[in-house]
C-alpha cells in the first residue's frame, strides 16, 4: 500500500487546535513504541495522509467519527446503509429529529465536516458488500462499529483476502490493513485489534458470539409458559398462516407490531400467561439490543485510541482484546485472543468437513455449516466440481436456481455423487470469498 505524498500543510486552519496532540507526538516517552521517532511529521501524516475507514455510523460510528476527527484524522470515509430512526436519538448524537429518515452516513459526515474545519469525512450510503478490494485497499486502518456479526465477518474476510504473501511464504506487510473492532450491548462492550493474517481474526473467536436464543417450536406451539413464547408463536406460526398484510413482518411498521401485540395478548390470555407488553413484543420481533450513550462512548473511545496508536506508533497497540462492563462498578479485562489453527477465514490449512458418511442428506450438511459453532453460516450456497465441470448442489439466494436445486436438499451425498475427499465450494454472506471444503467421512456406508 503506497501512502500518498504528504500534502502541503500551510492551509491548515486553526493550527493551535492540535497543540495537545502535538505535545504527545513531538516528544518521546518511556512507554513509546521502541521504534517511535517523535517529530512533527507524525502529526502531519495523521492529518494529511492517513486514511481511515469507519464502518457503521450508528451508536459507535457517530462517536468514532467525532473521536477520530478530534485526534487529528482528516481523511475519513464512513459506510452505513441505514437511515435515521427516532430510537437512535438517545445515543447517536450527530442526529436530530429533523434528520429522521435520512442516511446516517451522510448526516454524520456533514455534521463532523461542519463542526471541525479541515476534517473531510466522505459518506457512503451503501452496504459494505457494494465495494470491492480496490475500494478497501485505499485505507490505512479500518474501524468497525457494527451491530451485525455477519458484516463483521464479511469485512474480516475481505481484509484477509487482500493479503499477499512473498515467495518464501512471508506476509507482504504492505498488504496488511489493521482492523479495530468495537461492540456493545447494554452496559457491556468490547474493543479489539486485529492484524489480519497475524493475530486472531473475527472468525478465530466465533465462539465469543453465542448463537441467538431460540425457543423450541414444540414449546411455542404446545406448552407456552413465557410471554416470549406467545409472541414467537404469532410471529412464526400465526403470521405466515393469516398473512394479515400480504407481506413479511416489518418490525418498523407499527401496524405489524400492533397486530402481533394483539394476537400475542390474545394467546397469552388464553393460557393465563402474564407479562405481555408492547415493549417486549417490539423487542422480540426486532431482536432489540439495549443501548445507551455511555457504553457507546466508552467503546468507541477505546477503539479510537487504538487507531491513534496504530497510525502514529506512539504507543504499543492493545494486544489484542479488551472486555468492558460497568454493571457493578467499572470492570475491564484485557487479554490476547489466540489465532485459531484451523480458522475458517484466516488459516491457510485446507478446510476439512468431517461428517459421518455419505448417507447424510444435503440439508443436514447445510445444517452443520449453520449450526456448528466454528462455522455459524447464515444461508450458504453449495457447488462442487465433477470431472472439471461445476455442479450446483444448492443455491438459496437466486430464486430460479433455488427452485431448480431444492430437490437436492433431500438427496444424500452419495445420491449427489459426493465421495470421501470431494471438494465443496461454499458461498455465504459471512465471507466475501468462496470457501473450499474437503469432505471427510468418518465411516463408509
Amino acid at each position: 500500500m503506497d501512502s500518498p505524498m504528504s500534502e502541503n500543510n500551510e492551509d491548515q486552519q486553526y493550527p493551535r487546535r492540535w497543540n495537545h496532540i502535538r505535545k504527545i507526538l513531538e516528544r518521546a516517552g518511556p512507554f513509546c513504541h521502541p521504534n517511535y521517532e517523535a517529530s512533527p511529521e507524525v502529526l502531519n501524516f495523521v492529518m494529511t495522509s492517513c486514511k481511515i475507514l469507519v464502518i457503521g455510523a450508528g451508536g459507535l460510528g457517530c462517536e468514532l467519527l467525532k473521536d477520530l476527527a478530534l485526534m487529528g484524522f482528516q481523511k475519513i470515509d464512513v459506510i452505513d446503509m441505514d437511515t435515521i430512526d427516532l430510537s437512535n436519538l438517545n445515543r447517536q448524537f450527530l442526529f436530530r429529529r429533523k434528520d429522521i429518515g435520512q442516511s446516517k452516513a451522510e448526516v454524520a459526515a456533514n455534521f463532523i465536516n461542519s463542526r471541525i474545519p479541515g476534517c473531510k469525512v466522505t459518506p457512503h450510503f451503501n452496504r459494505i458488500q457494494d465495494f470491492d478490494e480496490d475500494f478497501y485497499r485505499q485505507f490505512h486502518i479500518v474501524v468497525c462499529g457494527l451491530d451485525s456479526i455477519v458484516a463483521r465477518r464479511w469485512i474480516n474476510g475481505m481484509l484477509l483476502s487482500m493479503l499477499s504473501y512473498e515467495e518464501n511464504g512471508e506476509l507482504d506487510q504492505s498488504t496488511l490493513i489493521p482492523m479495530i473492532d468495537g461492540g456493545t450491548e447494554g452496559f457491556k462492550g468490547n474493543a479489539r485489534v486485529i492484524l489480519p493474517g497475524m493475530s486472531a481474526c473475527v472468525d478465530c473467536t466465533l465462539d465469543l458470539y453465542p448463537p441467538q436464543v431460540t425457543y423450541p417450536l414444540c414449546t411455542i406451539a404446545n406448552t407456552p409458559r413465557l410471554p416470549e413464547h406467545c409472541i414467537e408463536y404469532v410471529k412464526l406460526i400465526q403470521w405466515p398462516k393469516e398473512n394479515p398484510f400480504d407481506c413479511a413482518i416489518d418490525g418498523d411498521d407499527p401496524h405489524h407490531t400492533n397486530w402481533i401485540y394483539e394476537k400475542s395478548q390474545d394467546r397469552a390470555n388464553q393460557f393465563n400467561i402474564p407479562g405481555i407488553t408492547y415493549r417486549l413484543v417490539q423487542g422480540v420481533i426486532k431482536n432489540i439490543i439495549p443501548a445507551v450513550a455511555s457504553t457507546n462512548a466508552i467503546i468507541a473511545a477505546a477503539c479510537a485510541t487504538e487507531v491513534f496508536k496504530m497510525a502514529t506508533s506512539c504507543c504499543l497497540p492493545l494486544k489484542n482484546y479488551m472486555v468492558f462492563n460497568d454493571l457493578d462498578g467499572i470492570y475491564t479485562y484485557t487479554y490476547e485472543a489466540e489465532k485459531k489453527e484451523d480458522c475458517l477465514a484466516c488459516s491457510n490449512v485446507p478446510k476439512i468437513l468431517e461428517i459421518e458418511n455419505d448417507n447424510l442428506k444435503l440439508q443436514q450438511l447445510i445444517d452443520i455449516l449453520c449450526e456448528n459453532e466454528s462455522y455459524q453460516m447464515k444461508n450458504p450456497g453449495l457447488t462442487t466440481v465433477h470431472d472439471g465441470k461445476t455442479f450446483t448442489l444448492y443455491i438459496p439466494t437466486v430464486k430460479s436456481i433455488e427452485e431448480r436445486t431444492r430437490e437436492n436438499l433431500k438427496k444424500t451425498l452419495s445420491d449427489l455423487g459426493l465421495k470421501n475427499g470431494s471438494e465443496i465450494l461454499v458461498a455465504d454472506i459471512t465471507n466475501p470469498n468462496t470457501l473450499i471444503f474437503s469432505l471427510k467421512f468418518k465411516s463408509h456406508s
Binding site: 438517545n90 463542526r115 400480504d246 415493549r279 443501548a291 457504553t295 457493578d328
Partner: protein, 537 residues
C-alpha cells in the same frame, strides 16, 4: 388493505426515543433521570463528554460553571465548542451546543470560576442531584469536597491527562435497591416450603400419570418430593456434600418413567430436577451482606429523618425476625422450565401469591413505622414495598469517604498506597503521579512540561518525593512515570476524555437512578496498556 383498529397501547414519543435505554433502567429509572439536576464544573473536553452522555438519555437539567473564554486549543479537544466561539464564554457556548442534543433537557450556565463561586455563593450547590468536576485544582477541590459532603450531594471528580484517566466518586451514603445482578439463583424455598407450595406438590401422584403429562411436571415437583423423602431419613437435614447430593439425584432418577424394555424415558423435566440439586437445594438464608444491612445502625435506630430505604429495611428486618421465620420475603419469580402451560402457570402463581403475601406484611409494618416516626405514610407506596421486597436479597449500601481526607496524611489510606506503589502491575503509581501533579500545579501555577522546560522533571520528582515522604512510603523505583507525565505537558487527548466521559456519565446515572452498583470509589484508566483498576480510598 385496511388496517385493523389499533387496540395497542399508544406509545409515547418519549418512550420511542428512549426505547433502548428504558430496557435497562425502566420507566421509573427514566423518571428519576428526568427529575435530576446536574452541575458540571469546567466545560473542558472531558467535561462536555460527560454531560453529553447525560443530556442524550434525558436528565432534567444541567448547569455549567466555568469562567474561561474559548481558546483555539480548546477546539482540538472539545466537540461542543465551534470555531465561531473563540474568545466567547466557554460556559455559554458549551451549554448551547449541548442543548442541541436533546430538546427535553434544560441547561443553564454561570460564567464564573469555581473558586469565585465558592467564595461568593456557596449555597449555589444545594439543589443539585450530583456535581461533576473536571480540571479542578487542589485549592478548589478541597473546599468543594467539604461543602458537598456536608450537603450530602454526590461529587464526581474526573481527570484526563495524556493517556491517563482518573475518576473519584464522593458520597456519604448510597443505597441500591435494584442492583441488577448478572445472574442469581432462583428463590424456590425447597428447604422451607410454604403451605401453598407443599399443597401443590402433594397434589401430584406422579406414578399414576401418563408419560406425556409426567414429562411435563415442573421440575420443582419431583425435586421437592425427592428432597422431602431424603430428609425423612436424615433428621430433616439438607444434603450438604457430594455423596448426599448424589443420593438425592438417585432418588429423583428413580422417578423417571421406564419404557416396555425397562429403559428410562427421556424426560427433560427430570433432567432439570437433577441439575437443580446443585443450585436450588441450598438453605434459604439471609445473605451475609444483607444481614449487615439489616444490622446497620441506620436500620435499627430509625429517626423522623430516616430515608424510605432504611424504613423499608427495618420493616423487612422485623419481617425476617417474625413472620419470615429467619427468611427474607419470597422473591416471587419462577425461572422457565420444561412444563405444560397450566402446571407452570399454577406454580408461578403460587410463588407470586406468596411474595405478595410477604410484601403485604412488610408494607403494613412500613406504614406503622412511618406513623410512629411521624412521617407521611404516603412516602412509601405499596408499589415501593413490593419492589423492595422483590429485590431484598440484592440490596446494597455504600458508605463513602471524603476526598478532602486524602489530602490529610493522617487520614489517607497510606498502606494501600505503598502496597500499590510496590506492585509493578498496579496502577496506583498513577494515583501518586496525579497527586504529584496537583502539588506541582499548586506550587508553580503551570503544568509540568507545558513549556518544554526540562527543569520541570526535577521539580515534579521533588513534589512526588515529598508526598511519598509525608505518607511514609519509600521512593519510586524508576523515573519512567515522571518522564511520561512531563511528556504530556498537561495535554488532554480527546479519546481518553471520551472514554472517561462515558464512565463518569454512567456512574452519575447510577447515583441518580439508584440502580446498579456504582464505582466505589476511585478508578484509574491507563490507555497505554488498556488496563483499569479500582481503589477504595
Amino acid at each position: 388493505m385496511a388496517s385493523p383498529a389499533p387496540k395497542s397501547p399508544e406509545q409515547s414519543d418519549k418512550s420511542k426515543k428512549y426505547d433502548r435505554q428504558l430496557r435497562l433502567w425502566g420507566d421509573h429509572g427514566q423518571t428519576a433521570l428526568e427529575n435530576c439536576q446536574v452541575c458540571l464544573i469546567n466545560a473542558t473536553g472531558l467535561g462536555t463528554e460527560i454531560l453529553k452522555s447525560l443530556v442524550l438519555p434525558g436528565i432534567g437539567g444541567f448547569t455549567i460553571v466555568d469562567g474561561e473564554k474559548v481558546t483555539e486549543e480548546d477546539l482540538g479537544i472539545n466537540f461542543f465548542l465551534d470555531i465561531d466561539s473563540i474568545g466567547k464564554q466557554r460556559a455559554l457556548v458549551a451549554t448551547q451546543l449541548l442543548l442541541e442534543l436533546n430538546t427535553d433537557v434544560k441547561g443553564d450556565y454561570v460564567d464564573e470560576s469555581i473558586e469565585q463561586l465558592l467564595k461568593n455563593n456557596p449555597n449555589f450547590f444545594s439543589n443539585f442531584s450530583v456535581v461533576i468536576a473536571t480540571s479542578l485544582n487542589e485549592r478548589a477541590l478541597l473546599p468543594l469536597s467539604e461543602l458537598l459532603w456536608d450537603l450530602g450531594i454526590p461529587l464526581i471528580v474526573a481527570k484526563s491527562i495524556g493517556f491517563i484517566g482518573y475518576l473519584r466518586i464522593q458520597f456519604q451514603e448510597h443505597v441500591v435497591i435494584e442492583s441488577h445482578p448478572d445472574s442469581q439463583n432462583p428463590d424456590l424455598r425447597l428447604d422451607k416450603p410454604f403451605p401453598s407450595l407443599s399443597q401443590y406438590v402433594d397434589s401430584f401422584d406422579m406414578d399414576k400419570m401418563e408419560l406425556k403429562d409426567h414429562a411435563h411436571i415442573p421440575y420443582v415437583v419431583p425435586l421437592l418430593k425427592a428432597l422431602n423423602e431424603w430428609r425423612q431419613y436424615h433428621n430433616l437435614a439438607l444434603p450438604s456434600n457430594f455423596k448426599e447430593k448424589e443420593e438425592l439425584r438417585q432418588l429423583i432418577r428413580r422417578g423417571i418413567k421406564v419404557n416396555e424394555d425397562g429403559l428410562p424415558e427421556a424426560e427433560e423435566n427430570f433432567e432439570e430436577a437433577i441439575k437443580a440439586v446443585n443450585f436450588a437445594v441450598t438453605p434459604t438464608i439471609v445473605p451475609n451482606d444483607i444481614k449487615k444491612i439489616l444490622e446497620d445502625d441506620c436500620c435499627i435506630n430509625l429517626t423522623s429523618k430516616s430515608k424510605p430505604f432504611w424504613i423499608l429495611t427495618k420493616a423487612v428486618r422485623d419481617f425476617v425476625e417474625n413472620e419470615g421465620e429467619g427468611c427474607l420475603p419470597v422473591r416471587g419469580t419462577l425461572p422457565d422450565m420444561t412444563a405444560d402451560t397450566n402446571r407452570y402457570i399454577a406454580l408461578q402463581q403460587i410463588y407470586l401469591q406468596e411474595s405478595l403475601r410477604c410484601a403485604d406484611i412488610v408494607h403494613r409494618r412500613t406504614q406503622q413505622l412511618l406513623h410512629q416516626l411521624g412521617q407521611n405514610t404516603e412516602l412509601i407506596t405499596e408499589g415501593d414495598t413490593k419492589l423492595f421486597c422483590k429485590h431484598s436479597s440484592n440490596l446494597a449500601v455504600f458508605r463513602g469517604t471524603k476526598i478532602a481526607d486524602e489530602y490529610d496524611p493522617k487520614l489517607v489510606n497510606v498502606s494501600m498506597i505503598s502496597q500499590g506503589v510496590e506492585d509493578p502491575d498496579s496502577l496506583m503509581v498513577y494515583y501518586v503521579m496525579l497527586r504529584g501533579l496537583d502539588r506541582f500545579i499548586s506550587d508553580y501555577n503551570h503544568q509540568p512540561g507545558e513549556f518544554g522546560d526540562e527543569h520541570d522533571i526535577v521539580k515534579l520528582k521533588a513534589c512526588i518525593s515529598k508526598l511519598l515522604n509525608e505518607w511514609g512510603c519509600g521512593s519510586l523505583s524508576k523515573d519512567d512515570y515522571v518522564h511520561e507525565i512531563f511528556r504530556y505537558g498537561g495535554a488532554e487527548l480527546h479519546s481518553i476524555s471520551a472514554f472517561l466521559g462515558g464512565c463518569a456519565a454512567h456512574e452519575a446515572i447510577k447515583l441518580i437512578t439508584g440502580q446498579y452498583k456504582p464505582l466505589h470509589n476511585t478508578f484509574i484508566y491507563d490507555a497505554i496498556t488498556s488496563n483499569t483498576e479500582t481503589f477504595i480510598f
